[in-house]
Symmetry: C2
Subunit: 233 residues, 2 copies
């Protein structure tokens, strides 16, 4: 295929602690026109992964929410009023340690999965067993950016593919060796999937088809810029 | 349509100063199975826009390149060896003031368009005249991120659509009013288009189909976080 297709997976029910996500994704696809195919990538929002893993807390008031944020944060990088820019135990730098109150029932809040790369790996293994071929899995979250307004989805968990497409040392279309072009392809895929999943609708997963990806053992934590390269911490 | 499709536009020739980009995009589509349709968004890399606008300089050696970077930068935010994190005159914060030597013939370098929002507007007006309906235009560039390795494409020019999808005040799927969810949809679209365009192939434009976008008069410069919100300058 020449282009890219992104198909939201509809029909995944509200997820609760202990649910079998792989089975629920496959059940949502079962019998419909949309099926997983070789070359596809599955993108799933961390929120359903966290819910399935029981990473939910009561956050009845702002104090409880703030306590959860402080608890989830390894370090606070910046603070402005109620907004904390934090580093999580995974190494990700994001607002409020990824603790999220939107799209959660009642007074609950969702934490990030303890190990999103492992969650992605588990899901990928279960899917491969069911469909008979390998489908890389990306777990996404919605992050802000320091200098640009608005948020975009990025990868916080990856299994089965290279996270970064390295064009270093490859000739560009003029035969010249390209300088430092490392594309964070899993982040671009997460962003693309978000276009299809929307935000208020109950669509927590999408199939991304037609991407030129490479099998690999990257983790999303590989995307965290090491301190020696980090000019903004 | 339920999902998203991203179609690279193949057959756009090498662009030179003074070229009519809209005509060349339409000529590349002419007679083929891929045509612009209502609801589509055109994404085009800034590099061909800059070339068409003559924003090319000689950068025979590193000193000439560095002089161009210093000239294009309004401010230097951080410096590490040869890498300058700069703010451009448009307000964008990016490496080396957006001056780019990859995918350029010989010893040339490409500068950012002087006013990428205006460039997008001009292209959109020309396309609308030719096809008879309005197609939003996004001009993309490849930016790094402070805390995440790898680069992703973002919007540096926009015409014809809202740059940010504002979910503030909308109920989420649990009927709860969502907190501060502003999706930088044009950046997600630019990232998605990059998946289809690749980096070493000569495909500088793509049609993005199926996105739920809103007509509007946003500029990409609206995405620049105002200084009072900026914690990392």
């Amino acid at each position: 295929m020449n282009g890219i297709e992104i198909h939201p997976i509809e029909g995944i029910p509200e997820i609760g602690s202990g649910d079998d996500l792989a089975a629920l994704v496959l059940a949502a696809l079962n019998g419909g026109p949309l099926q997983l195919a070789g070359g596809d990538i599955l993108v799933i929002t961390h929120k359903v992964v966290s819910k399935a893993e029981g990473r939910i807390i009561d956050a009845a008031d702002d104090a409880a929410y703030r306590a959860a944020v402080e608890n989830e944060a390894r370090a606070v990088i910046r603070r402005r009023g109620d907004l904390l820019i934090t580093q999580t135990d995974h190494g990700f730098i994001c607002a409020n340690a990824g603790v999220d109150r939107s799209n959660v029932a009642g007074n609950q809040a969702v934490l990030l999965p303890l190990d999103p790369d492992k969650s992605a790996h588990r899901l990928r293994i279960q899917l491969a067993r069911a469909v008979g071929f390998d489908v890389p899995v990306i777990i996404s979250d919605t992050f802000g950016r320091p200098w640009r307004r608005g948020q975009t989805d990025v990868a916080i968990g990856v299994s089965g593919m290279e996270a970064i497409t390295d064009h270093k040392g490859l000739p560009d279309s003029n035969g010249r060796i390209m300088e430092a072009t490392e594309v964070a392809i899993v982040d671009e895929i997460a962003a693309a999937a978000d276009l299809a999943m929307g935000k208020t609708s109950r669509v927590p997963a999408a199939i991304v088809r037609g991407v030129d990806w490479k099998p690999g053992s990257s983790r999303a934590t590989d995307l965290v810029r090491p301190p020696r390269e980090d000019l903004f911490r």
